[in-house]
């Protein structure tokens, strides 16, 4: 499997790196810390989110080892509670939410639309510094007593009863919110105003559409979580009664405000990953994406409907049964645009010219895992069934399939796809395929048993459990060790490839996007001359510059499609 007949046309040994590019334009630590180049800021984010990923991953490893035995193998109850809380906070707020938008989005959006940079380069750098400040507060919380409220910060546990370092953590998440808001603002303005001549809205890569939808959520949702956590912090510090019933507050109010952001936040994580997949699939099937407008529109539909489903996290809080019925129905509606995407991706494969390169393996893995994650959402949206599986390991499995199986597979797949553009060099293909398959298998072994655990009734966030649940916990821990290997492998060979990888050339796959029309790595200004777009998105046939064998291709009457 190390060689395929579909060797990349332009990835020949003859390629050399461009003489000047964004990585060697200037040198020194100042040139990085004060840069306003979106590509360099993307790399700053890459390093920082990877740091938080490994912190969150270390906590996850300890959690899985601890759960090997019913009475807990490793740590005390108190420490266990801190581990899963800090795992959640690090992974969600400091890895998953910024990962694809702030790394890949930052790097690629200007390149994809033919712009020199984002609309507000200095604000872009400010976002990263805000992220660092927020992250520092959270690390301070982790290292001075830890945090044991659960990443959901439910009151009055967080605002009154917890003895851990809640205050610095909520301040950290509050500050970090501004980073998301500014990134979203930057993306929206950039996409509106800085598209190259000919880059119409419906010629935009679907990655850009997905980030546009994500940015809407960043801007509309993030202020709500920021203020909500601030209120919880004020209640804790100054004993103001917002959520504590003893002071006249209502703990349910906190949940409404919290989930008003935190449910859309799931779409912040998954929409950009869907954008990545929508780029990879047409590139490696070498044909236009099936139903462009439906995939683009479904991103917007998910972002909008996603704001009206939050109370499905609260079916069993005692909320009005009418509210529960409404939110259940709306939750089923938001599933439809996700289903539309999956159907369209699958159809794109039909009559393609499909290569088995690593990014494609990630894309197919994404479809499989997102399918399970998305479909199990239908179980949880079902009111009657949610009574039983709410707050069990079924939920844990479901959202890991979406966030890890979906968002992280998309992120790692995207890193591989654009690695040649980012570094100018290719990763080692054989190792990368091994890693992709390892991740897929390890992931399923880790999280599939948790669906069964959940239906059997094991509640989440338990540091010890009745012995009848042990079998599935051991399976899950075994799978996690494979999964960990799957994450370490790319870490090693991607770093290796930055120096020793084959030089990629401008367009190794080849792909149709504007980002592949410039050098790898690109110039600081991205393009020598502003490109002009005269082709539709994902059009391989009318692109003689790609050097493909169009004449030999099975032809079809002019497209009757919708783009």
């Amino acid at each position: 499997m190390s060689t395929t007949p579909a060797a990349r046309p332009s990835a020949t040994p003859g390629n050399t790196l461009p003489r000047e590019h964004y990585l060697n334009a200037t040198y020194g630590i100042r040139s990085w810390l004060l840069t306003t180049d979106h590509k360099r800021i993307a790399l700053l984010y890459l390093v920082s989110v990877t740091f938080f990923f490994f912190i969150g991953g270390a906590f996850a490893t300890m959690i899985r080892i601890h759960l090997l035995t019913p009475n807990g193998y490793l740590v005390t109850a108190e420490t266990y509670n801190k581990l899963f809380t800090m795992h959640g906070v690090a992974m969600i707020f400091f890895f998953l939410i910024p990962s694809i938008p702030a790394v890949l989005g930052n790097f690629l959006i200007p390149l994809m639309i033919g712009a020199k940079d984002l609309a507000f380069p200095k604000i872009n750098l400010l976002s990263w510094y805000i992220y660092l400040v927020g992250g520092s507060f959270v690390l301070y919380s982790f290292s001075t007593g830890g945090l044991d409220t659960g990443w959901t910060f439910y009151t009055p546990l967080s605002s009154v009863y917890s003895n851990s370092a809640v205050t610095p953590a909520v301040i950290g998440v509050f500050i970090n919110g501004f980073s998301s808001i500014l990134t979203g603002l930057n993306f929206i303005v950039t996409i509106h105003t800085m598209r190259a001549p000919g880059m119409t809205w419906f010629r935009l890569p679907l990655f850009v559409w997905a980030h546009y939808a994500t940015s809407i959520i960043f801007i509309l949702g993030t202020p709500v979580i920021a203020i909500t956590l601030l209120l919880a912090g004020l209640e804790r510090m100054l004993h103001l009664g917002f959520f504590n019933p003893a002071l006249g507050g209502d703990p349910i109010l906190f949940q409404h405000l919290f989930w008003f952001y935190s449910h859309p936040a799931v779409y912040i994580m998954i929409l950009p990953a869907m954008g990545v997949i929508s780029e990879i699939i047409p590139t490696f099937a070498r044909k236009p994406i099936f139903g462009y407008t439906f995939i683009a529109g479904s991103s917007i539909a998910i972002a909008v409907i996603g704001f009206f489903v939050w109370a499905h996290h609260m079916f069993l809080t005692g909320e009005s049964a009418y509210a529960a019925l409404t939110f259940s129905l709306l939750s089923y509606l938001v599933a439809i645009p996700s289903a539309v995407k999956v159907f369209n991706w699958t159809s794109t494969l039909y009559k393609g010219s499909i290569s088995w390169d690593t990014p494609m393996l990630y894309a197919l893995g994404f479809i499989g895992l997102f399918l399970v994650g998305g479909l199990t959402g239908l179980f949880l949206a079902c009111l009657g069934l949610d009574i039983h599986i709410h707050d069990t390991y079924f939920v844990v499995a479901h959202f890991h399939y979406i966030m890890v199986g979906g968002a992280v597979m998309g992120y790692v797949g995207g890193l591989h796809f654009w690695w040649p553009k980012i570094t100018g060099r290719l990763y080692p293909e054989f190792l990368a395929r091994i890693a992709a398959v390892t991740l897929f298998i390890g992931f399923n072994l880790t999280f599939f048993p948790q669906f069964i655990l959940g239906y059997l009734g094991m509640p989440r966030r338990y540091h010890s459990y009745p012995p009848e649940f042990q079998v599935f916990n051991v399976m899950s821990t075994a799978g996690a060790s494979i999964l960990a290997l799957g994450y370490l492998l790319p870490m090693v060979y991607l770093i290796w490839s930055m120096r020793y990888g084959t030089v990629a050339g401008r367009n190794p796959w080849p792909a149709t996007g504007l980002e592949w029309q410039t050098d790898s790595p690109p110039l600081t200004e991205n393009f020598d001359v502003t490109p002009e777009v005269t082709w539709e998105a994902y059009d391989f046939v009318n692109r003689p510059d790609l050097g493909l064998d169009v004449k030999g291709a099975p032809s079809l009457a002019p497209a009757h499609g919708d783009d």
Binding site: P5, N81, K287, G291, L349, K351, L456
Partner: protein, 322 residues
């Protein structure tokens, strides 16, 4: 290895039926899409380095089909879930009411006779049981997987949870809402007994001390409730005779049912719903009563129902209840 827990309540078969229905539909789509992906993956594998695919841009008929078909199937799932949930949220009238109080990290239950249990719950088989849930501190969740029921226990609110046990035995209950350090230890056993055994168990362990009526009556005097809530209705506050489960006319013209939650609120936040014809003079008892004391007071107020309403106090507090 079992794949589902024991079916030990009226809800269990219904919830499992939903599970089977949704699993069947999802399995169909998961298998179909996975099969299609794998088939295309092999069938259309790239044959030559420069090969391109057939430029198909889309198909409106297909788009409509895969918008509409999943929508219809989703709506059937919604409807099935809604039926079970509405049943779950509407307890029948003839329930055996048991108070359950959650606190970090234990469960205290009180049978109608006043018998108290800690981390245990005894119920008769075949009888509709309603748990009235209160929390002393943070949010908990009372959950019995073998019954397929759970409900949050929220400070400042009363939530109710009902079920009809269908099989004698011992079943695990858990706290399912993360509540702090020993969350995982906050569980116990529901023991489902034959009705005769349940009666025997109740009489075997009951004691007058624990009787909430006695405790409630004492509190009613201690907290000076009885100085205003005179039984003849001539006091500064309405008579509470027969008020429980009756309709109460409020100062703003609306009516409420005097259920547990209303009585609790009237004790803790008396100004929230003032009875028509009375001044909002009652002080709040927020922070002065434990959940268990509130339950005792409620039990006492409930017991007043059986006493005849004095003729002189007629037409004041309870409006409607005969």
């Amino acid at each position: 290895m079992p794949l589902y827990p024991e079916q030990a309540s009226n809800f269990a078969p219904n919830v499992d039926a939903l599970m089977v229905y949704i699993t069947a539909i999802c399995l169909f789509f998961a298998v179909a899409i996975t099969a299609a992906v794998i088939f295309f993956f092999f069938k259309y594998r790239r044959k030559s380095a420069g090969g391109v695919g057939v430029p198909i841009h889309g198909d409106m008929r297909l788009e409509v089909i895969w918008l509409v078909v999943p929508l219809i199937l989703s709506l059937t799932m919604f409807a099935g879930g809604a039926v079970v949930y509405v049943d779950f949220r509407r307890p029948p009238m003839d329930t055996l009411d048991i108070y359950v109080v959650g606190k970090q990290w234990m469960w205290k239950a009180q049978q109608p006779t006043g018998l108290r249990e800690i981390n245990e719950l005894h119920v008769p088989v075949g009888r509709n049981v309603k748990l009235i849930l209160a929390s002393e501190d943070v949010i908990h969740n009372f959950s019995v997987p073998d019954f397929r029921v759970k409900m949050d226990v929220v400070p400042g609110h009363y939530n109710t949870l009902w079920f009809r046990p269908t099989k004698p035995g011992k079943y695990h209950f858990y706290c399912s809402q993360y509540c702090g350090t020993n969350h995982a230890l906050m569980g116990g056993w529901v023991t489902v007994l034959e009705p005769t055994e349940y009666e025997a168990w109740l009489s075997g362990s009951s004691s007058a001390d624990a009787n909430p009526l006695v405790a409630g009556e004492k509190l009613f005097a201690e907290k000076a409730c009885n100085t205003c809530h005179l039984s003849d209705g001539k006091g500064r506050a309405p008579s509470l005779n027969g008020v429980y489960e009756g309709k109460v006319l409020l100062a703003d013209g609306s009516t409420v049912t005097a259920d547990d939650a209303y009585i609790r609120e009237s004790i803790l936040a008396p100004a929230a719903k003032v009875v028509a014809g009375y001044q909002p003079v009652m002080p709040t008892f927020q922070g002065q009563l434990t959940e268990e004391q509130i339950i005792a007071l409620t039990a006492y107020i409930k017991s007043l129902q059986s006493q005849p309403v004095p003729a002189t106090g007629a037409g004041i507090a309870p409006a409607g209840k005969k």
